[in-house]
């Protein structure tokens, strides 16, 4: 079994074993969607217009919880250090964790879609495309998010530091994902979704490689 497969297996097992937390994070995200609707008021047209933005904001906020959680188990008894000493390749450990986080965020995103449909009357018939955007957006959050989660799990004030570092960085992901989702919901007469998807793919390509390279410096002494 390659190191990456071993790492991915470990992280999926950990996620499965702590799945109660994911449910709690989903509830958090759904509550956020509800609260956002109060910010607009019961105006159906306005709610529909902004639904995509709120979905991604809810997912972004939920991601800080999920990402921080993903390194809790690695740091409390220094399990990550234990693996590095076996020796296990730091890059494999990063990609295993980042992929598992991306899958978890995709799941969260998909679970929040029905909530959005109900609260905002904002649905789309183009479900495969929506899934694609959710996957790309989740991956874009996960790549730098996993790196920063590893960093902040070892620092003080970790709950504040992770969003502080992550949010400015993922502005392109937020912009692209919101625009693309909005076009799926409201219609895309000029076929612009493709361009936003390309932006997401580029962000992912750059950050999945860059963070993989830098991860070792963050977790090794």
């Amino acid at each position: 079994m390659s190191a990456l497969a071993a790492a991915l297996r470990k992280d999926l097992l950990l996620q499965w074993r702590t799945r109660a937390q994911v449910v709690a994070i989903f509830v958090f995200g759904a509550s956020a969607l509800l609260l956002f609707s109060f910010a607009i008021g019961p105006h159906a047209a306005a709610l529909r217009q902004h639904a995509a933005g709120f979905l991604w904001l809810a997912l972004l906020l939920s991601s800080t919880l999920a990402l921080a959680e993903s390194f809790q188990s690695e740091m409390e008894h220094r399990a990550l250090e234990g693996l590095l000493l076996l020796p296990a390749d730091a890059r494999a450990l990063y990609y295993g964790k980042a992929i598992a986080n991306a899958l978890q965020l995709t799941l969260l995103g998909v679970a929040l879609v029905p909530v959005m449909v109900v609260l905002y009357d904002a649905g789309t018939a183009r479900l495969p495309a929506l899934l694609g955007i959710i996957v790309l957006g989740s991956a874009g959050l996960s790549a730098p998010g996993t790196l920063y989660a590893a960093m902040t799990a070892q620092a003080r004030a970790r709950q504040t530091l992770l969003p502080l570092l992550l949010f400015p960085l993922v502005v392109p992901v937020l912009l692209a994902a919101v625009k693309a989702t909005s076009l799926l919901i409201l219609g895309d007469p000029m076929g612009q979704i493709r361009s936003w998807a390309v932006l997401l793919v580029s962000f992912n390509a750059i950050y999945w490689s860059l963070c993989g390279l830098l991860f070792e410096r963050v977790v090794e002494d």
């Binding site: 003080r156 912009l175 830098l214 410096r217 963050v218």
Partner: protein
């Protein structure tokens, strides 16, 4: 240790002198711009600030790369200085942008791609300053902030492009430098003025950071006698 004592002050002093000269010229004596009027004069300060903010943050990126690839505490000290000065300049830039936008467009913020990118950079690098505050171990602090700077800087073109595209779908806003033409001499003088001032500030701040690091890290222990002395990385730099 080299004696820095006069260099930053010399740089800063010269910079301020140039700034005074260029600003007086641009703000009071340069020809009035036909289309926009006196508001356009802010460009004599705004453009130099923009150039130097990017320069400071690019210098921070270079320091981060040097630190990660070659090590050495001096790069961490310069990194700290460059980030701080870059954040201050970005803040000034956003304030200037707002001051320009209000009389021009009637709103404080017009989502100009360049300015919005600077705002995102302001938050990104400000966050890295916060990161430095919350990490106690000097080595970890240095490595992590260097990593964070690299990640944030690589994002700059992506943020710029995505905001530009996002904005272009609505309306074509304009920024001071695209609309109005400046009388270029006061602009250049100010640009050099800010550059020298920034260089002086970074120099001074680097010295402060280096002194703080010296206070945080214990000096190598005194050794009575050693058979084969082989101190590696006496300053504790990372490889």
């Amino acid at each position: 240790m080299r004696d820095y004592s006069t260099r930053p002050y010399a740089l800063g002093g010269l910079g301020i002198a140039l700034l005074l000269w260029g600003s007086t010229w641009g703000l009071l004596f340069a020809p009035r711009e036909a289309y926009m009027g006196d508001v356009q004069r802010i460009m004599y300060v705004h453009v130099p600030t923009a150039w130097n903010a990017m320069l400071a943050l690019t210098f921070a990126f270079a320091c981060a790369l040097f630190f990660l690839l070659r090590g050495g505490w001096e790069w961490d000290a310069r990194l700290e200085a460059a980030i701080e000065v870059g954040v201050v300049l970005s803040t000034l830039l956003c304030m200037q942008g707002a001051i320009w936008a209000k009389p021009t467009w009637g709103v404080w913020w017009d989502w100009d791609p360049r300015l919005t990118t600077m705002a995102v950079l302001l938050f990104a690098f400000g966050g890295i300053l916060a990161l430095r505050q919350f990490v106690d171990d000097p080595v970890k602090r240095a490595v992590w902030s260097a990593v964070a700077v690299v990640i944030a800087y690589v994002d700059v073109p992506i943020v710029y492009f995505s905001v530009k595209w996002w904005n272009s779908l609505h309306q074509m806003q304009s920024s001071p430098e695209t609309v109005s033409r400046a009388f270029h001499w006061p602009l250049r003088i100010n640009a050099f003025g800010v550059l020298l001032l920034v260089a002086g500030l970074i120099d001074l701040r680097t010295r402060l950071a280096a002194l703080r690091r010296e206070g945080e890290l214990a000096a190598p222990p005194v050794v009575a006698e050693r058979a084969t002395p082989a101190p590696i990385g006496a300053a504790g730099g990372t490889p």
